[in-house]
């Protein structure tokens, strides 16, 4: 490993945001793999929680993430956010605008936000996301949130990268047949109906709940939470559901003494 990389890793482990940011660029640009620059033992030691937030464009993912940051910071925990926006298929360029919703945390040293473009990957993600998650873990973040680019029905790659998947929808999302189809709703650990002040939001939420209740597989009943992210309404309940899901996974994890036989 060249000296300047070694120096960046040392800087990052000592808490330098500058070094972390530059290492993220290196893995994003495919110049280095995390496996080649980080000691593996270092990563296994800490308990961190990874959340994925996904859903169609404009559903309120960034605003919801910002609301969750407030909850997380209120508990004294630190957080890393990876916000993905699409690259242009025409020019390769991108406009990264998720940060704009998160302005109140720009100067909070316990909040690290990084905007990432898809750079030709599908699923509302970029192929460097797992490596960026690991860098944020090594940096010492307690919770990591990955906000995908806006997705449609079949972008489910986030599932394998995080512990809890939150699917954010709005009341215009369709009827119960839409949620019986395979795809996005299948990977949800928690469903959020955002903009719940809109007309027929209750009917929409109960249609989703109806479909989810006849398709229980893992023993986890997927909750449907109504939120108005922009007014901070429902975020606390959402965070409680995240904590419940975390406990559920810990209980049912192979090797856990509480595991159901």
């Amino acid at each position: 490993m060249p000296d300047h990389i070694r120096e960046l890793v040392r800087g990052m482990l000592n808490g330098s945001q500058n070094s972390l940011a530059q290492l993220i660029s290196l893995v994003e640009n495919d110049e280095w793999k995390v496996d080649d620059i980080l000691d593996k033992d270092r990563l296994a030691l800490r308990e961190i929680w990874r959340l994925g937030i996904t859903g169609p464009p404009g559903a309120g993912k960034s605003t919801l993430v910002t609301g969750l940051v407030k909850e997380i910071r209120g508990k004294g925990l630190s957080v890393g956010i990876i916000a993905v926006d699409p690259s242009s298929a025409v020019s390769g360029g991108a406009v990264l605008g998720d940060r704009i919703r998160m302005q109140q945390y720009f100067l909070d040293r316990k909040v690290f936000i990084r905007s990432v473009t898809t750079r030709g990957s599908y699923g509302g993600l970029s192929k460097s996301i797992p490596d960026i998650i690991r860098l944020l873990e090594a940096f010492g973040k307690d919770i990591i949130m990955v906000e995908t680019a806006g997705v449609g029905q079949s972008e489910v790659a986030i599932k394998g990268m995080v512990d809890t998947v939150i699917v954010v929808l709005t009341p215009e999302g369709g009827d119960s047949i839409q949620f019986m189809k395979a795809g996005l709703i299948e990977i949800a650990d928690i469903v959020v109906v955002n903009k719940s002040d809109r007309v027929s939001s209750d009917i929409f939420a109960s249609e989703i709940m109806g479909v989810l209740s006849i398709n229980r597989k893992t023993g986890w009943q997927v909750p449907v939470i109504n939120t108005q992210a922009i007014n901070g309404i429902g975020i606390e309940s959402l965070y409680q559901e995240i904590e419940k899901h975390q406990k559920f996974l810990e209980m049912t994890r192979p090797g856990s003494s509480n595991m159901k036989s």
Partner: protein, 139 residues
């Protein structure tokens, strides 16, 4: 190192109490169409928040827009804070309504170029490409 050229990352920000963001948005779109990754943080930013964003996003370029007259404070302060954090290699450019006298003094304080009304996007893009110094993670 990969063969494919990596996109230039640039932060477009509006410091101070200035709500006129049409120019900043137009430039953001133009740079996107030229293959750059543009982080846009919107209006009413402070130099501190701009620099913090520039660091976390590891941008190579910061573009500041001001049409409200406070550029003589905000622009140099961004340059100062970037330098304090060891990021003096980030290219800083500015735009907006800025007098010729001010342009000269801003250039002395680390703002590499100022683009006023009527500046062509091609010129801005070419200037960025020719003057950008660091490449993602490597100083």
């Amino acid at each position: 190192m990969k063969e494919r050229e990596r996109p230039i990352r640039i932060l477009i920000a509006k410091p101070g109490l200035d709500g006129h963001d049409r120019g900043a948005k137009a430039l953001t779109l133009a740079l996107r169409d030229k293959g750059m990754e543009v982080i846009y943080t919107g209006i009413r930013q402070t130099p501190e928040s701009i620099v913090q964003t520039a660091i976390q996003e590891d941008v190579e370029v910061v573009g500041l827009s001001s049409l409200a007259g406070a550029h003589n404070y905000h622009f140099p302060r961004v340059a100062e804070l970037l330098a304090e954090g060891g990021n003096s290699d980030v290219l800083i450019i500015g735009g907006g309504i800025i007098s010729e006298e001010d342009v000269a003094s801003l250039k002395e304080k680390g703002i590499k170029e100022i683009f006023g009304p009527g500046a062509r996007t091609e010129d801005i893009v070419n200037f960025i490409r020719q003057n950008v110094k660091r490449g993602g993670g490597q100083k």
